[in-house]
């Protein structure tokens, strides 16, 4: 393999990895906040992609412009999922963990079924976008503009999230709720409100990812599943609940996937990622940056 080909593979992997990190971070954030795994995370992504598709049709604006609106819609969806479903699942008197898993899993099936019914199983794609189909030529290394844009959105989102968590009162309230959700009432924080906002924030982040993916990926009711699988691997690899871990793990997953795709037949490109996941689970079950 020539140096140029190697750089090409690594650069593509890095860009996709940053997008995977953006897909995964909301999942990790919600888990860290309240120890609930959102099994409807992939469906949130799917709905974000449909939201982008629909908004483009209606407004005739570019997905790049519509991205904040998609994130806002997903924020509402996330907060509603907490207030309408997860909040009640958390009140279970027995087997709380199981009840939470089935509640979000049921939500996933409901959202997928609703999408199938309302949007039909047809594959859609957003056409005539500013970035779609364009590539950047860096002296023989070709990088697709949608992925470059997605990578920057991801970095900006992680930067913004870091500032939010470390510099604002809301971020401090999130951290405190992560630490001891029973104690925040002592300082007058309503943990239900923090949870609802946390779910909103987590969903808004996957909303950004969905708006990016809609530029270069087909949209259909099952599209969330494959990305959700990668997101679970990313979160487990980075450490459940760790925001920084999601970033590093996303990049690793992207690189491993890109390299595997070159070594093995393309149909087997996911094998490297899952092999890595297994290795981490055996060697370091808490993930790279997780606390157990």
């Amino acid at each position: 393999m020539t140096t140029q080909a190697l750089v090409q593979v690594l650069a593509s992997g890095l860009l996709m990895g940053l997008i995977y990190a953006l897909i995964a971070v909301g999942l990790s954030l919600i888990f860290g906040l309240m120890d609930v795994v959102n099994f409807a995370h992939g469906e949130f992504l799917m709905l974000a992609m449909y939201a982008t598709f629909g908004l483009v049709l209606v407004t005739q604006l570019d997905p790049v412009v519509l991205m904040p609106l998609v994130a806002a819609l997903l924020f509402v969806l996330g907060a509603a999922a907490y207030l309408g479903v997860v909040r009640f699942a958390m009140r279970a008197k027995a087997n709380q963990g199981m009840v939470q898993i089935f509640a979000t899993f049921g939500l996933a099936i409901l959202l997928q079924g609703a999408a199938q019914y309302l949007f039909t199983p047809d594959y859609r794609n957003v056409q005539n976008t500013w970035l779609g189909g364009r590539t950047l030529d860096l002296g023989g290394i070709f990088l697709p503009w949608p992925q470059i844009f997605g990578a920057f959105v991801s970095l900006a989102a992680f930067g913004g999230l870091h500032l939010l968590m470390s510099r604002t009162d809301f971020g401090r309230a999130l951290e405190a709720t992560r630490e001891d959700q029973g104690a925040v009432a002592l300082v007058g924080i309503d943990r239900n409100r923090v949870f609802a906002l946390g779910w909103g924030l987590g969903a808004a982040l996957v909303g950004l990812a969905g708006a990016v993916l809609a530029i270069f990926y087909y949209i259909h009711p099952q599209v969330g599943a494959s990305f959700a699988l990668i997101a679970y691997v990313t979160v487990a690899l980075g450490g459940f609940g760790s925001v920084g871990g999601a970033l590093v793990a996303g990049i690793i997953v992207g690189l491993v996937e890109a390299v595997t795709a070159v070594i093995l037949p393309p149909a087997l490109k996911s094998i490297g990622v899952y092999a890595l996941y297994l290795a981490v689970v055996f060697a370091r079950p808490q993930g790279l940056f997780g606390r157990l």
């Binding site: 009162d169 630490e179 104690a183 009432a185 002592l186 300082v187």
Partner: protein
């Protein structure tokens, strides 16, 4: 009357931990609730603060019923509660813990006065600001817990066993601080197993036994009451009594 608890009963794991407890606390007062381990003292504070939901009875704060309200709403009304295990946020810094205390009063200007007050009371916290709360000594953690509670700008401060596990010198310091807060206009409801130190600074006291109030009165009367001395201040208390506070109490 700032706080009136009337006939409060709370069940804990199916058993009544307190039954028909009535107490009163007024502004400018330190009220002590004494009693043996398991007498229901902590349950009483948890029931007032909203951490536990009372089964029957009333809690009236500043003329309004607050029983049944969620804990965060009770904090917002002006009742700060420092539980026995303090419930600090151990991985967050001292500074963040204090800032979280003022979550209800988020304007920077509203934060300065309470923060100054905390630093005046506990200068040591000022030196520890960037340190993680979990790495503080027991005494410093108690100071931070009281400091965080004060940041909510309470009119009533409820403390559960603030002297537990602290060296006598620190206990005396905590008690001095509590007396000072009372003089600054914060009503204090103090729960203590070893009531001697607490009664010395208190105005009024209640003794709980088996979940009910068995004795109550002015703190001097209680300190002179043979039953109290025998049962709750007895021989054990002599050993770990803090250095006496000159001219207080008797």
């Amino acid at each position: 009357m700032l706080l009136e608890v009337r006939g409060l009963s709370t069940a804990y794991q199916g058993l009544l931990a307190i039954q028909g407890v009535s107490i009163e606390v007024d502004t400018g007062e330190i009220v002590v609730v004494a009693g043996a381990n398991g007498a229901g003292k902590s349950t009483l504070l948890k029931s007032i603060s909203g951490m536990e939901r009372p089964r029957s009875g009333e809690v009236v704060f500043d003329g309004a019923r607050i029983d049944g309200l969620p804990g965060h709403a009770i904090t917002a009304r002006g009742i700060a509660y420092v539980p026995e295990n303090k419930r600090l946020f151990p991985r967050l810094s001292v500074s963040d813990n204090l800032r979280l205390g003022s979550y209800l009063h988020r304007k920077e200007a509203d934060r300065e006065a309470p923060l100054e007050r905390v630093f005046t009371l506990f200068p040591r916290l000022k030196e520890r600001l960037p340190q993680r709360a979990g790495t503080l000594s027991g005494g410093e953690q108690q100071m931070l817990a009281i400091g965080r509670a004060l940041m909510t700008r309470p009119r009533l401060l409820m403390l559960d066993e603030p002297s537990l596990g602290l060296a006598p010198l620190i206990v005396a310091e905590v008690m001095r601080t509590v007396a000072r807060l009372r003089d600054e206009g914060v009503a204090i409801l103090l729960v203590e197993q070893n009531a001697r130190a607490a009664l010395q600074i208190a105005d009024h006291g209640y003794v709980l036994d088996g979940g009910s109030v068995v004795l109550q009165g002015d703190s001097r009367t209680l300190q002179g009451d043979a039953r109290v001395v025998e049962t709750y201040l007895g021989t054990l208390a002599v050993d770990d009594a803090p250095p006496s506070r000159a001219a207080s109490g008797r």
